[in-house]
Amino acid sequence: MQMSHERLKKAYRDMVTIRLFEERVQVEFTKGAIPGFVHLYAGQEASAVGVCLDLRPEDNIASTHRGHGHCIAKGCDINGMMAELFGRSTGLCGGKGGSMHIADMNVGMLGANGIVGGGPPLVVGAALTAKTLGTDNVAVCFTGDGGSNQGTTFEAMNMAVVLKVPAIFIFENNGYGEATGHSYAAGNTDIAGRAGGFGLPAVTVDGDNFFAVHAAASEAIARARAGGGPSVIEVSTVRFFGHHSGDAQLYRGKDEVARLREERDCLKVFRKSVTEAALLSADELNAIDAEVAQAVEDAVEAARAAPLPVAGDLLTDVYGTY
C-alpha cells in the first residue's frame, strides 16, 4: 500500500530531525555545552522512524543508551530533549535524567536506559498492561546487537511468548557494542535467527531502507494489535559516530565511516527513492531540511537560555509520599 504524502513527509521530517539533532549535539558536546556522555543515533534513523511511524501515543516504547532517535521518532519534543541534554530545568526530566534517561509518558516514551538489556523486560510489562486492560496498544523495545547477548533480553522474549503479549523486539544491529564487533560477541551472529528459536516470528530487514523497516514493523504491529503476540525484527544498520561522542574509534577500519556515510546513508537512500518515484520533490525535501535545521537551532538556543535546576530540586521526585 502506498504511503500518503503526509506520512512520507512526516517520516522524512523525523529522520532529518534525528540527523540534525545528533549532528548538533556532537558539536555542542565537543564545545563542552553538554555534560556527561552522549551516544549518537546518526546513521540509524530509518530504524527508529520506520518502526515508530505506525505507533500511537498510547503505544509504549523502551529505548537504550542511544535513545535520542527513538525519542524523536516517538514524538518527544526536541526542545525538551535538548534542554534535558543541557541539564536545564525545562528539560523533559527537569534536568535530572540527561541523555541516557529521557522519558515522556505523554507520548509513550518509557525511557532511554543506561543499562544494556534494561528495556526488554519493561516492554513485556507495558505489553501486559495492554493485554490485561484489553486495549489494543502495543509496546516496542529497542535493543542493540550488543544487548542481544544480555540474559534479560532472552528472558523477556521467552516471557512475551509465554504470556502472548503485544511486545515487539527491535534489534538494531550496527555491528558494534562499544569497541567490540558483533561478529565476535555473538556465538551466532544471526540475531533474528537466534531469536526465532524462542518461538516468535523474527525477520531481518535492511536498515538503510526506511520502507523495508516500516513494512516489517507495520506487519508486526498489526499482528500484535490483533492479539497475535510478540515479534522480533533485526534491523541491520550503521553507526556514523563513535560509541559515544569523543570516542577515537580506533577499532573501526580505515575509511569505514566515510564509506558508510557514502554508501549506507538511510537519508540519502530515502531521498533517492522518493524523488525517483516522484513521491516527494527535491524542493519539498529541501524545505523540510531547512525547517528542521531552524527547529534544531531554536532548540539549542532555548536550551542555552533555559534556567538550571535549583537546589530544592535535588530532593524532590524521589517518592510520591515518604
Partner: protein, 337 residues
C-alpha cells in the same frame, strides 16, 4: 474480628484489593501453579500457599504464572506499573534478588526521580525472608538492608498478621515501588485481623510493649523473640519497651527517638547480617539524635557476618534468640557510664 494467620491475612489483602481495583494483578512463579500440566490448576498458590484461591476468583489473566525468569518478572511488573497496572509481583525468596536486582535498583526505584517526577511505579514485590527452616545459605537470607539502601524503594517487614494485612493494602495503594518482606516463620502466627480493609501508614512504628528501662527495636520475627526476652526480663525487674518499625524505609525514627529519650538505652534486634545492615542504620541515626539521652552504648543483636549454615544446630546459633536478646539487654541496663 477473628484470629487469622499471617498467610491468611496476606491472602485476604490481595483478594480484597484485586476485587476493588482491576488494575491489581499478581504475577510470579507458581503463584497459582499447575499451568501446562495434566493435573489441577492452583496446585501451589505460591510455594507456601499464600496466594492460593486467587486464581479461581480472578482467573489467569490476573493471577499470572511465569517461567523461572526473575528479571523478566520484576521488569514486566515494573513496566506494567509504569503504564497503568498495579502489579503485585512475587520474588519467591529474597535471596533471588541477585538474578533480577537491576529491575528494582536501576529501573523501578529510579523512574520517578530520573524521569523528573513524571512516571509513577505502583509496584509491590512480595518476597520471603528468614532463616529457621533448614533452607541453607541461598534460601534463608533477610536481605532487606539491600532494598532499604536503595533510594526510591519502600520496604515493609511485617511481624504479624494484623500488620501484614494493613501494610499490604497500603503497599498496593501506594504509588511507589514497595518491597514487602514476609518471614517464612511468621506465616503461621495468628493475630486478630478485621475482615474489612484497613490501611497502616508507612513510617509509623508500632509500640508493641511499653516499658521504662530500655528500648528494644526489633524487626519481623525478631519482635516475637524480643517479647519472649522481655517477659523473662520483667521477672528480673527490667522493664522493656518494644518497638516494631514495621517499615524500614521510611523509618519512623521519631518514635524510636522518643522512646530512647525516656529509657536512655537501646538494643536493636535484626535477624540479618551485621555489616551495613538495618540494625547499624538505626544505631547510627539514633546514636546521633539521642546522643545526650543515651546512658549506655547502643547494642545490636544480629546474625554473625557469615552465610546461613544448614545444620539446625548451627542455624539455631546463627539466628538471634530470646536468650541472646535478654543478655544484651541486661548488659545494656547494667552499663554504667
Amino acid at each position: 474480628m477473628a484470629l487469622k494467620t499471617t498467610r491468611q491475612a496476606i491472602n485476604e489483602a490481595l483478594a480484597m484489593e484485586m476485587r476493588r481495583d482491576k488494575r491489581v494483578v499478581v504475577i510470579g512463579e507458581d503463584v497459582s501453579g499447575g499451568a501446562g500440566t495434566d493435573g489441577s490448576r492452583d496446585a501451589y498458590g505460591g510455594v507456601l500457599g499464600v496466594t492460593r484461591g486467587l486464581l479461581g476468583e480472578f482467573g489467569d489473566s490476573r493471577v499470572i504464572d511465569t517461567p523461572i525468569t526473575e528479571s523478566a518478572i520484576m521488569g514486566a511488573a515494573a513496566g506494567a506499573a509504569a503504564t497503568g497496572l498495579r502489579p503485585v509481583a512475587e520474588l519467591m525468596f529474597c535471596d533471588f534478588l541477585g538474578v533480577c536486582f537491576d529491575q528494582l535498583l536501576n529501573q523501578a526505584a529510579k523512574f520517578r526521580y530520573m524521569f523528573g517526577g513524571k512516571v509513577k511505579t505502583p509496584l509491590v514485590v512480595r518476597t520471603m525472608i528468614g532463616a529457621g527452616r533448614g533452607a541453607a545459605a541461598q534460601h534463608s537470607q533477610s536481605l532487606y538492608q539491600m532494598f532499604t539502601a536503595v533510594p526510591g524503594l519502600k520496604v515493609v517487614v511485617p511481624s504479624n498478621a494484623y500488620d501484614a494485612k494493613g501494610l499490604l493494602i497500603e503497599a498496593i495503594r501506594d504509588d511507589d515501588p514497595v518491597i514487602f518482606c514476609e518471614h517464612k516463620l511468621v506465616y503461621d502466627l495468628k493475630s486478630e485481623v478485621p475482615d474489612e480493609a484497613y490501611r497502616i501508614p508507612f513510617g509509623e512504628a508500632n509500640i508493641v510493649r511499653d516499658g521504662e528501662d530500655v528500648t528494644i527495636v526489633a524487626l519481623s520475627r525478631m519482635v516475637h523473640f524480643s517479647a519472649e526476652a522481655a517477659d523473662v526480663l520483667a521477672k528480673e525487674g527490667i522493664d522493656c519497651e518494644i518497638i516494631d518499625p514495621r517499615t524500614t524505609s521510611p523509618l519512623d525514627a521519631d518514635t524510636i527517638a522518643e522512646s530512647v529519650e525516656r529509657t536512655g538505652r537501646l538494643v536493636i534486634v535484626d535477624e540479618s547480617t551485621p555489616r551495613c545492615g538495618v540494625a547499624g542504620d538505626i544505631a547510627a541515626i539514633i546514636g546521633e539524635r539521642c546522643f545526650r539521652d543515651l546512658k549506655a552504648p547502643i547494642r545490636r543483636v544480629t546474625a554473625p557476618h557469615t552465610p546461613v549454615p544448614f545444620s539446625p544446630v548451627l542455624e539455631k546459633l546463627y539466628i538471634p534468640d530470646a536468650l541472646r536478646i535478654a543478655e544484651a539487654v541486661r548488659q545494656t541496663v547494667a552499663y554504667a557510664r
